[in-house]
Symmetry: C2
Subunit: 118 residues, 2 copies
Amino acid sequence: MPSPAGTPEPPYVAVIFTSVRAAGDDGYAATAARMDELAAQQPGYLGIESVRAGGEGGPGITVSYWATEHHARAWKRVAEHLAAQRAGRERWYEKYTVRIATVTRAYGFERSAADESS
Amino acid sequence: MPSPAGTPEPPYVAVIFTSVRAAGDDGYAATAARMDELAAQQPGYLGIESVRAGGEGGPGITVSYWATEHHARAWKRVAEHLAAQRAGRERWYEKYTVRIATVTRAYGFERSAADESS
């Protein structure tokens, strides 16, 4: 996935998922890849950014971006995603926090342009 | 830093910083640690979460949490932080995006509790 995600002008919705993995893969990597693929097919999907450090047992942050909170909620209820959320609680995560936020401003920098733009 | 951050009940502000590092350390690690320390001393600071994969050259996500957007903006203008932002553009980052968002809902899971709470 490209990083940072190429989101449109605000406002839009960010779902910030911060987690600590349990030890062992136990199907995690394959399901994580499948969820990225499935999320990208949902209405209102704008992009996803995900970083995990230290492999298994390490902390991770995934931010998915959605056109509206309605779209973010609909993704949470997709059947295959609900099954993955359940497996996450049963097997893959020691702990996690999910925060739903409305992005109101954004700006960025890219070296090729060699300056900051808003 | 603890992950996930122990933030209070919403609403509060999240600043999502997604970046791709340039090659070489060149003072990056020391400054990043100093900025985490300095941020924690600012008014309205609620916590920070940061993950970088693959070391130098890899993607990273840092989310800092603030009581209000006013507090987040004040941190952006702290002199030592301004100098670090400038060095980031000159030396440390290939590209980055900063998104300012208002967190409206949050929930979490922790294995010791063995269930999900809101």
